[in-house]
Amino acid sequence: MALITIFCAVSLNFLLFRVVPGDAVSNLARVPNSTVAQQQALRHEFGLDRSIGAQYVAYLRELAHGNLGRSFANGQPVSKNLGEALGNTLPMVLLGTVVAIVAGIATGVLGAVRRGTRTDRALTVSSLAVYALPAQWVGLLLLFLLGGVFPSGGRVDEFLIEPSAWQHAVDVLWHMTLPSLVVGLTLFGQYALLTRTATLETLSEDYVLTARAKGLSTPRIVRRHVLRNAMLPISTMIALTLGSVVGGVVLIETVFSWPGIGRAVYSAVTSRDYPMLQGAFLVLTVVVVVCNYVSDLVCLRLDPRITA
């Protein structure tokens, strides 16, 4: 199923770039004094004079070999550029997500267990507030507040000379703190609110009444009879947001000059770097599909009623 989805996405991705007006050459050929003959030669070189079908087959063949083409902007293979960008984005997003998951679930469960109390109201209001704030604004705010404590941009300290692996890791982590925090904060609100709702729903189930009649303590009821059941919608949501966050970090990465996939897409758009863009779309599609697949696997593990 996941493979079929990816195949469809690849095909749409291919088509998308064929239906935009103009082709790569009409852009490249905006060079002064370029002749029609030169343009034709370029088209032939890139294979753009062949039929759509033939181009599609060629594209699939090269894709199967892991060849995404070369970037117009820096002449490097697209796969190498994207690999680097994704390698920068993923740890940052994952760190933020983990923070959001831990804090969000703890907050949501606490709010649900203490339903209607002052604690619950305070937690719900603050989750809603964080949820409503735009990510880039939170980013700027954090820069303003903590910019002196944590590095404000970039991924590494350029002036570290020949750092050891350990120093490098610490340096990257240090730079990662603020952008990850922004990712975490924007996700935290959603996770906390969803966890609260899911937990409340589970708490009203008959088997929770059974658990209470069994004389189990509240923490034990939450741990053994509520959390796992409530995790079903939450894990789906986490997977979905993770996929979209990887594609949507453009703003956060711009604020913190983080050399990740979001910035790669942004600069590819501004410089009309079609191969880069096509490759990036493909990678993002794959990330979303993989996340969904993982969420299915998690649900399968959590809920014995679902069978593969």
């Binding site: 209607g116 189930e205 008959d206 088997y207 009444l209 059974t210 658990a211 209470r212 009649a213 069994k214 004389g215 189990l216 303590s217 053994r224 009879h225 796992r228 059941n229 959590l302 809920d303 014995p304 009623r305």
Partner: protein
């Protein structure tokens, strides 16, 4: 004669209603449960049977306020809330809920749900606990290998058996069974009833059956309390209740129960129970009662002795033998 395990005195339950119109769901219920007793709470839906039991077990939650007295082994547990009740839950008082599918957690195995209520010294290891759970399942007529199964893999009757096994795990002295056979077909219903009967004998359990089905009540219980609008309207030995009901509601309830082979018309009781969010004037049953007098709309009849071990709450009891 040993003292009662459970004494309930003048139990009242109010639920928070919209606009401050609190619902007075249970209005002064009293009963005792002695070791080995077979008591039934009988009445139609919404008359407060389940609420009474949940209130006794302290399971009603924050939306309800409960007053009166609940004593376990002479120890008052009602004002202490959860903390006072917790030590008696499952170990002394356990319950089989109505609708066994929802009473079991769908994502955990039957065995683990039974094992978690075994007395602490019995579950030294996971393996030992699961073996114990298996033995309990065998006790209720299921194969021990069902411990590894999930609730959705079991049939309705098996789930109810599993719930009973779970209820036995804490070695309780009183077992509440809240409509344990609804949603089961007649054959399975009879099996479950027979099982409860056998277990109660073997283990010396006291059973409190909650049901609207007088047939079931007669088979399993020797004493019954008929409830109407949050009150006991009649109580006594089940045999006497059927043959010589002293309250018109008991009589009508019996006439509304189909009996196999009986040559009599099946009647239904017209109307429905009164709303409990407004104070009642007079007898709660008078709007549906076939024979009323003036005083029925003035004062609510008290539960008074009408015969040895029999009490009824009707102004006309003396005239309706």
């Amino acid at each position: 004669m040993k003292g009662p395990v459970l004494e309930v005195r003048d139990l009242h339950v109010w639920f928070d209603g919209p606009g401050g119109r609190d619902v007075h769901a249970v209005r002064g219920v009293s009963f005792d449960v002695r070791p080995g007793d077979r008591l039934a709470l009988v009445g139609e839906s919404g008359c407060g049977k389940t609420t009474t039991v949940l209130a006794v077990l302290g399971l009603l939650g924050a939306a309800a306020s409960v007053s009166g007295s609940v004593r376990v082994d002479g120890q008052e547990v009602l004002p202490g809330g959860d903390a006072a009740m917790a030590p008696y839950r499952w170990g002394d008082l356990s319950i089989v809920f109505q609708g066994a599918l929802n009473a079991l957690n769908p994502v955990r195995t039957v065995g683990s749900q039974i094992a978690e209520v075994l007395p602490r010294d019995r579950r030294v290891s996971r393996r030992a606990a699961l073996r114990q759970a298996g033995e309990l399942l065998e006790r209720v007529g299921m194969a021990a290998r069902n411990v590894a199964r999930y609730p959705h893999e079991l049939s309705g009757g098996m789930r109810q058996r599993a719930c009973i096994a779970m209820a036995l795990a804490g070695e309780p002295r009183v077992l509440f069974a809240d409509e344990p056979t609804t949603a089961l077909d007649v054959v399975v219903q009879a099996q479950i009833l027979e099982l409860l009967d056998r277990l109660a004998d073997e283990l010396g359990l006291a059973v409190v059956l909650i049901s609207h089905d007088l047939g079931l009540v007669g088979q399993l219980c020797d004493r019954a309390m008929v409830m109407y609008a949050g009150r006991a309207v009649e109580e006594g030995p089940t045999v006497g209740l059927y043959t010589a009901p002293r309250h018109p509601y008991t009589r009508l309830l019996y006439e509304a129960t189909p009996v196999l082979g009986a040559e009599r018309p099946l009647r239904s009781i017209g109307g429905g129970p009164p709303a409990l969010d407004v104070p009642l004037a007079g007898c709660a049953f008078r709007s549906r009662c076939p024979d009323t007098e003036d005083r029925c709309s003035l004062t609510e009849p008290a539960l008074t002795p009408v015969a040895p071990a029999r009490r009824a709450a009707c102004h006309l009891t003396g005239r309706t033998p």
